[in-house]
Amino acid sequence: MAYVAVKGGERAIDAAHAWLAAERRGDTAVPELETAQIREQLGRAVDRVMAEGSLYDPDLAALAIKQAQGDLIEAGFLLRALRTTLPRFGVSLPIETETMRLARRISAIFKDLPGGQVLGPTYDYTHRLLDFSLAANGTQATAPEAEARDEAAPRVPDILGREGLLEADGASAAEPFDLTRAPLTFPASRDARLQGLARGDEGFLLGLGYSTQRGYGNNHPFVGELRVGEVDVEIVPPELGFSVCIGTVELTECQMVNQFAGSKTQPAQFTRGYGLAFGHAERRAMAMALVDRALRAEELGEARTAPAQDAEFVLSTCDNVEATGFVEHLKLPHYVDFQSELETIRRLRGNTGKPATSLPEAAG
Amino acid sequence: MADHILAHPGFADPVHDAQSSFRALLQALARPGTLHAVAAPPDPPAPLSPATAAVLLTLVDSDAPVHLAGPFALLAPWVAFHTGSGEAAADGAAFVLADALPEFAALPTGSDEIPEASATVILQVPALKGGPPLILRGPGIETMQEFAPLGLPGDFVARWAANRRLYPRGIDLVLCAGDRIAGLPRSTTVTEWR
């Protein structure tokens, strides 16, 4: 092989991008996907991308999914990269999930409760049989409608809280930490932890949450309430001085009621784990609530023994944009470092660069 | 006051003037005691020197507030308008603007774990040369660097030595005169010329 110093990186990149675009489009005999189809028909994917991309915009999330060929981590990364370039016009008021227009609301700890159990659109009781009629298209799905119940649906923890059986939530007037603008340092406050979890990788959160159920930091969880629905987002423009609604977001909120804590001076109380996610994302919200509770071990005087209880481990590892970047960066050339390792290992073997064929057999 | 704010604009070219002023600051702190010209705003309000105004516009904002000491206190509206910085108390400031060296003990000097949580003092002086000569040694200096600004207190060498002893904690100093700046990072050792 005649060796010439490698050239052509620029041309290779251009050609690779062109190939990628062609591969993305696939067989042109098949109609091109419209982003509206993704938004309407792949809603759960859109929701995951919005959560992990830290940006509520179903249309852009659908575009990102299309651009990423359905690679949801890549799509979330696209949203994040856009998000950092967006100007900040203001800060919303805290959203009020109590006033959520509920699509679904269940509590596992009461048979019935004010506002009722609302089953809503769920896969929970579907039989997981492939529905071949979907492959044929043309489904005209219509759902039966009923009158909305004109009844308040207070958040279940508030019902328990009135009796003092559940710890009060940590309300704070302080300006919350902003993970998108400041580096996370440890020990991390709960607001910082919740932000990290809210955009953490769903699979990672699920695995960690599951690990607590398998004894690695068990916290005896009950689903106090899981609710899904739309909530208004309000801001107070300084020139107006009162709040105006600027839109709505669909959210999933999970309130776990966990193992009680107490002491001689403090009456026993259940403790909380909290999960909140953009869109309809029950698995994510529940896993987040389990991990949130696990991360409170130290604050609640429990021994910190399990991975899910180690805030630095969890929060430094849960971000899939960071994780995928670093895992995949191993594809970048490392031949300079590898060469230095080669020289070191040859030196250790007392052999300096003779042809490999003459190297002694590797030990062991 | 609004007239005053608008009569003395910020950078003529906010993006590129801030960049070039930052490079001057970076070089000034990386090469202690050497003088660097900044891209100054056209007509800064008195008593700000062009260099001092450029340093403020380059570094200060709502995330890194400045404490305006002495005669600079009057400039709070101008600083707020052009940088977004509110007024900070000396002991909570990221930057302290002064025309007389403040007592370092009154300013944040960071902790051993977070030594960067300390104040940078922006000191406006009459001139960066012509004063009593000092000898600087330390990172950024090949062997030694002469530095002779006007306007430092008579006990500066002792006060700086006390600051140096806190290392890695400590105060960093940016001196401004005319359209020039010089830096004295906490890592620099200062002695009198003998």
Partner: protein, 277 residues
């Protein structure tokens, strides 16, 4: 580039980075946490270096980007294009012409001057992380200059292998105070950091840390008196330019053990060949 600020980052983000850089210069080798932003390139692919370069670079600069010492490796091309597009700056492959050099894994062979800034892409800024994964704990170790564990690690290597066996990212002591990761440059490059005339800036985007080494600063590779630091290179001459002192890549030329050695610094090699021609 339309719709984006000069050098991509908004001015507030640049100010945040610039303040961190000035602190980094004031405390050589100390890692400063900063609010790293998501960049349009993935974490681990140079986002820290890119953010540092973006906050430093101006219209008058000439940028060189290398990866593994080469200007033409795909990631170097990608980053150079990013700045050509977002900042419209002049780019070069010639080390001597550059005012800002962004690098991954190498320091150019041509000695840098006091008119240059070198920006290192850093995957793992914490030199102690293999000994202590908790950054809460390593921060405390840096505060106390408690670096005994690193010396123990080196000593264990001497006991096991008869020498220190770290080949790259070889830890250095900066200004006699802070233990620092030089980024994964080969140990061969470590001596170039010592009292370098150029300002050295380090950016770790994913780990959200910035650090710096001012010009002429002491940068000492850890070692023992009886086991001094050794900078290794392949004991060959470059097959293209004949250099016997530069750092070499080993290129496999067939599947029968054939190989050749060529300069890792492509500009250095090309310049030598131009001169010889």
């Amino acid at each position: 580039m339309k719709g984006y600020n000069f050098a991509y980052l908004d001015e507030q983000t640049k100010r945040m980075l610039r303040r961190a850089l000035l602190k980094a210069v004031a405390i050589p080798g100390h890692q400063i946490p900063f609010g790293a932003r998501e960049m349009p390139l993935p974490y681990g692919w140079g986002t820290g270096g890119i953010q540092v370069t973006a906050s430093v670079i101006g219209r008058g600069d000439t940028l060189k980007v290398i990866d593994q010492g080469a200007d033409d490796t795909t990631n170097a091309v990608s980053i150079r294009r990013f700045f050509a597009k977002t900042a419209g700056v002049r780019t070069t492959t010639r080390t001597a012409e550059a005012t800002v050099i962004q690098t991954r894994h190498r320091i150019p062979e041509t000695p840098l001057t006091d008119a240059q800034i070198i920006v290192y892409q850093v995957p793992q800024p914490e030199p102690l992380y293999k000994l202590e994964p908790s950054r809460t704990e390593t921060r405390r170790m840096h505060a106390l200059a408690d670096y005994g564990a690193m010396h123990v690690k080196l000593y264990e290597q001497v006991a096991r292998y008869g020498q220190i066996a770290i080949s790259y990212d070889y830890p250095v002591m900066v200004n006699g105070r802070h233990l620092m990761a030089p980024s994964p440059i080969p140990a061969f490059d470590n001596p170039k950091m010592h009292r370098m005339k150029a300002l050295q800036l380090f950016g770790a985007g994913r780990e959200k840390r910035i650090y710096a080494v001012p010009p002429y600063t002491e940068v000492v590779s850890l070692d023992f008196e009886d086991y001094p630091f050794r900078a290794g290179r392949a004991p060959h001459a470059c097959a293209l330019c004949g250099d016997t002192a530069s750092y070499l890549d080993e290129v496999v030329t067939d599947d029968r053990g054939g190989r050749m050695f060529v300069c890792s610094d492509t500009n250095h090699c090309a310049t030598r060949r131009e001169r010889a021609a």
